[in-house]
């Protein structure tokens, strides 16, 4: 007989939320894809690669993200910068930077390992970019994201003290060879 009040209590709560979400502003579902929920500040979505204010890439091709990655999802091939035609500050840049999104477990270790704040797990969880790039998801190869797919404009990264400190450092050192 003790069950009855418990059931009534439980159903009462259900009823409260049913009424609240239908008529009140207690809504917890959103009508995706027209609406999206805001993501927390430290959300770990699909990767982005940041740039400095002057447009140079932050990534220096050091492969530390690849070393940290528990899923072995990252492939980096570095090359030497041509001072006339820089890709990144300093001597080294990533000539090839690829992440296999089928392997990635979105743990964020790559972001943590990155010494320049270049790779970050962004707010996007849809694996397609804002322009709604039409992907032909037919092949495993289609899930290998290239550097071009992940690079974002300056200032579009997640807020991050390391990244900002390096922005500052590049401003002080315009000839680029000591940032890294």
């Amino acid at each position: 007989m003790k069950l009855v009040p418990a059931i009534v209590k439980g159903m009462g709560r259900t009823l409260k939320h049913a009424i609240g979400t239908t008529f009140g502003d207690e809504s917890i579902t959103v009508s995706y894809p027209e609406q999206e929920k805001p993501r927390p500040r430290r959300f770990r979505g699909r990767h982005i690669l940041n740039r400095y204010e002057n447009g140079l890439e932050k990534c220096i091709g050091c492969s530390l993200c690849a070393a940290a990655c528990p899923a072995d999802a990252i492939w980096v091939e570095a090359a030497e910068n041509d001072p006339q035609n820089r890709v990144s500050p300093g001597e080294r840049y990533a000539a090839r930077y690829e992440i296999n999104m089928l392997r990635c477990i979105f743990c964020g270790y790559c972001e943590e390992a990155c010494p320049t704040g270049a790779v970050q797990l962004g707010y996007d969880y849809k694996l397609i970019d804002e322009e709604g790039r039409q992907h032909n998801w037919q092949d495993r190869d289609d899930f290998i994201f290239t550097k071009e797919m992940m690079l974002v404009d300056p200032g579009k990264g997640k807020p991050d003290p390391l990244s900002e400190a390096l922005d500052e450092r590049l401003k002080q050192n315009p000839n680029h060879d000591r940032v890294w």
């Binding site: 220096i60 091709g61 050091c62 492969s63 530390l64 690849a66 070393a67 091939e77 570095a78 090359a79 030497e80 300093g90 001597e91 080294r92 010494p115 320049t116 003290p161 390391l162 400190a165 390096l166 500052e168 450092r169 002080q172 050192n173 060879d177 000591r178 890294w180």
Partner: protein
């Protein structure tokens, strides 16, 4: 048995030979004392102070007995200050503490200073991951620095200071440990790097032109404990932990150098040494390090070519092999097996050579099989298994007609070690000066062709010494008397009085005497001889070796990788067969119809270029098995793409007979379509030969390379060790060049721009321009100045090269490398004469002194690169 001492390190007892360093003793019991400047192969200098430890000695009573504690243990008096364990010698009863709080504190301080200039740019540093400084910083550094804003005179210097074609220097990373300079001074004996300037500005710079002029310079990259010296070929190509290091053996020269090949994604990333105390220790030559890139080159052949209507066109393996089979069968039916010839090369593996020998010798049944185009001698008998160990223990080493510096790099380093560290009496005999002369106790520059007279003169002097003083030389006499051929041999020495021998050889008589005295008194005499001296010279050397009662200390030096193995495998003319030279002759005369050339090139290696070319042109059917299309394949009717030594398992034999395993690093090179499907691939030599045998009707039944290896290992040695005497007399008439001409001497050059060089980007850039060495006095008479363009002309032809003046050659002789880029001496050499006489004509003055290429800084910091003292340092976030 050397004296032993027992020391206690961190409460562990260890017994080591007296004179060992504490750091070595610690390593023995697994205590890893932090270090930077100490290296087991280099002298200890105590420069970095990282290995500090507390050291104590047992206290002594006034009566020299050990003072004891109450419990009977010895009292220890600790030294008031820490000691560098890399310079402290272990002593009986010593107590060492290597990890006390005080020691750790000192290490932290040392690191603070070492890091004062360091940019901590590990993420972009090629050393990252195998860097001692990185490891020690992780272990001991404190995360802040009190000195980095005070002493940073180097921190803001330009990065990437190009030291040489191979090495780049980051001066701000250097910790002045002097490992690099010590290696070049002590091991390579090429003192071309120096520490320049003083104090916080001290840094490394090159002192030679061309920069870092050493054949071993790449080793400084390995031993640099930080990322100061890095490889320009490896620069930013991969992180060290991302590659797979495959252990194999380099088939670049005859040393059999042990290497690791780092590969990533089927590309060759770098080549690094693999320790092997019996062969190369921990060193490799630059040729090994930077000269193997050719294997990973898109110009490699990946499909067979067959000549159709005068043009080489791609074909399938089946087509090509069937065609070769048909031609061999047809030639055999029509003209007999003797109309078929096969020449392999020393770049074949043991298995490749053995399968080739079996295919042509047994299946085809031709006696015309060889491993090269010119006659070479081979080591009689078998060198000792511990060859280098015994060589280093030798007290007298005689090198004749060889230049290890340009031919056999690992031997070169060992000879330098023997002469420099072990103080062996090195007698270097050559018709011209070689780099080894600098270290040789005696260098005998003899007249080319007078080797027999020289050696007989030596032998006679040795014989005289024991007849004069019988008591002292009992052993010598015992070695000779009663031996086969001894009496005849002693009689044959009659005419070679020291005066006459010295005169024939063109050396001074006292020099000859001194050499003879050294040989007579030696305990362990090593005789090393170049592979292209005549068999008569080898016999006289055998006599010298027999004097000491040993035959295994006479070793022939083969510059080419598997020269010993291919001959042991049976690539040599059978009964009544032709050798390489003979086959070219017979082909030209039309007697040889099918010529099969594997891993060789007569246009490069034959004594006579014209003959080789004519032979190839007249030949009816030429099969070439090779890695690249080149001038030889232009003459081929079928070209078969062979796999390199990195693309197959197998074994190779080095010059002193050591058989070592090759391990496959890459898949045999393939051609693929856009979807990544393999269309065709090259194949290891042994597979090609085994298949051909199958097509010719003989199935060896070998499907794995191991089957051939087994067969190879079961082969007997070429010749047994045998102590014997053979009388040899001096035949060649003394060379007197006609008035106005010079005797042409030739020799090997390591960087000769040969077949693989065009595919090795960096190495190709250090290949010198073709040159000829002329004696300074001769040049003055002819009005030729250094670097002038001259024409060297023989009765057969002429080549244009740059003159290099010096004392490398005697008056009346000139020296040219056998092959150097396009200039092949075999185009002008007169094969049928004992020597080639050439005339020199100046064509052009020397060019104005060239400025160094823009990317080569030759000026050191000490000479005034400005250092801005006031650069504000950016704050590390």
């Amino acid at each position: 048995m050397p004296d032993l001492v027992t020391v206690t390190i961190d409460e562990q007892k260890v017994t080591v030979p007296k004179g060992s360093l504490v750091i070595e003793a610690a390593t023995q019991i697994g205590i890893d004392v932090p270090r930077f400047c100490y290296h087991p192969k280099l002298s200890a200098v105590g420069m970095c102070r990282m290995c500090l430890g507390e050291v104590g000695m047992p206290k002594m009573n006034p009566d020299r007995t050990p003072a004891l504690n109450e419990d009977g243990t010895p009292q220890i008096a600790m030294m008031p200050k820490p000691q560098t364990l890399c310079t402290t010698q272990a002593a009986e009863g010593m107590v060492v503490l290597s990890e006390t709080p005080a020691v750790v504190k000192m290490r932290q301080a040392v690191l603070e200073f070492l890091l004062a200039n360091h940019p901590l740019d590990c993420p972009i540093c090629d050393k990252g991951g195998e860097c001692m400084l990185q490891d020690q910083t992780m272990a001991y550094a404190q995360g802040h620095s009190r000195v980095q804003d005070l002493y940073h005179l180097r921190r803001d210097l330009d990065k990437d200071y190009l030291l040489s074609e191979f090495i780049t220097l980051d001066r701000e990373r250097c910790i002045q440990c002097a490992r690099c300079t010590r290696f070049l001074d002590e091991v390579a004996q090429d003192p071309v790097l120096e520490l320049v300037a003083r104090g916080s500005r001290t840094m490394i710079d090159t002192m030679s032109d061309p920069p870092v002029d050493s054949k071993y310079s790449g080793n400084t990259i390995d031993i640099c404990p930080v990322g100061a010296l890095t490889s320009r070929a490896f620069r930013f190509r991969s992180r060290v932990w991302e590659v797979k290091n495959v252990p194999t053996v380099s088939m670049i020269d005859g040393s059999g150098t042990n290497i690791f090949v780092s590969q990533r994604n089927e590309t060759l990333i770098r080549v690094i040494p693999r320790d092997n105390e019996a062969i190369n220790e921990c060193w490799i030559s630059d040729r090994d390090r930077f000269g193997l890139e050719y294997i990973d080159n898109d110009a490699r052949l990946t499909y067979p070519l067959v000549r159709r209507d005068g043009k080489l066109e791609p074909a399938t393996w089946d087509e090509a092999l069937q065609l070769v089979t048909d031609k061999i069968k047809a030639a055999k039916e029509q003209r007999g097996a003797n109309s078929i010839g096969a020449v392999g090369g020393p770049k074949l593996t043991n298995e490749g050579a053995l399968s080739m020998a079996r295919l042509f010798g047994d299946v085809v049944g031709t006696p015309n099989v060889d491993a090269g185009w010119t006659p070479t001698i081979t080591t009689p008998g078998k060198p000792p298994a511990t060859f280098y160990e015994e060589l280093e223990g030798a007290d007298v080493i005689l090198v004749l007609g060889a230049n290890p510096n340009e031919e056999l790099c690992s031997l070169d380093l060992r000879l330098k070690k023997a002469a420099f560290q072990r103080k062996a009496h090195l007698i270097n005999c050559n018709p011209y000066k070689t780099p080894l002369d600098r270290l040789a106790r005696q260098s005998l520059i003899y007249n080319e062709g007078s080797e027999v007279a020289l050696l007989n003169g030596l032998a006679k002097l040795v014989h005289q010494s024991w007849t004069a003083e019988p008591a002292q030389t009992e052993a010598l006499r015992n070695n000779v008397e009663g031996r086969a051929g001894a009496t005849a041999w002693i009689d044959s020495l009659g005419p070679y009085s020291s005066n006459r021998a010295a005169e024939l050889a063109g050396i001074s008589e006292p020099d000859l005497r001194a050499a003879a005295t050294a040989i007579a008194g030696s305990e362990r005499l090593f005789l090393l001889v170049g592979e292209d001296v005549s068999p008569a010279v080898l016999s006289t050397l055998q006599n010298l070796a027999a004097l000491k009662g040993r035959s295994d200390y006479l070793v022939v030096l083969h510059p080419e990788p598997n020269a010993v193995g291919v001959r042991r495998a049976g690539l040599a003319p059978r009964e009544g067969g032709l050798d390489g030279q003979g086959m070219l002759d017979a082909t030209f005369k039309g007697n040889l119809k099918v010529l099969y050339i594997a891993a060789n090139n007569p246009l490069h290696w034959a004594a006579d270029y014209d003959l080789a070319q004519r032979a190839l042109q007249t030949a009816e059917f030429v099969v070439v098995q090779t890695l690249f299309e080149n001038e030889l394949t232009e003459h081929a009717d079928v070209v078969l793409p062979a796999a390199s030594f990195m693309e197959q398992d197998g074994t190779t034999t080095n010059f002193h007979g050591k058989v070592q395993n090759l391990k496959q690093v890459f898949r045999p090179r393939e051609r693929r379509d856009d979807d990544g499907n393999t269309l065709s691939a090259c194949a290891p030599d042994w597979i090609i030969f085994t298949k051909l045998a199958q097509l010719l009707g003989k199935d060896f039944g070998y499907t794995r390379v191991g089957d051939w290896t087994q067969q190879f290992k079961a082969l007997p040695a070429l010749t047994p060790n045998e102590v014997r005497f053979t009388p040899v007399t001096y035949e060649a008439s003394p060379a007197v060049a006609p008035e106005g001409t010079f005797q042409l001497l030739t020799g090997n050059l390591l960087y000769d721009g040969g077949e693989s060089f065009p595919y090795c980007d960096r190495l190709n850039r250090v290949v010198p321009e073709p040159f000829v060495y002329i004696n300074r006095a001769d040049a003055r008479k002819l009005g030729i100045e250094n670097l002038a363009l001259v024409e060297v002309k023989s009765a057969r032809g002429a080549v244009q090269v740059r003159a290099k003046l010096g004392r490398e050659v005697k008056a009346g002789t000139v020296w040219m490398p056998r092959r150097l880029r396009a200039v092949q001496v075999n185009r002008i050499i007169e094969v049928d004469k004992p020597y080639t006489a050439v005339t020199l004509t100046k064509l052009q003055d020397a060019p104005p002194k060239e400025t160094l290429p823009a990317d080569m800084h030759a000026v050191g910091v000490g000479e005034g690169t400005p250092v801005d003292m006031n650069i504000s340092t950016a704050v590390v976030p």
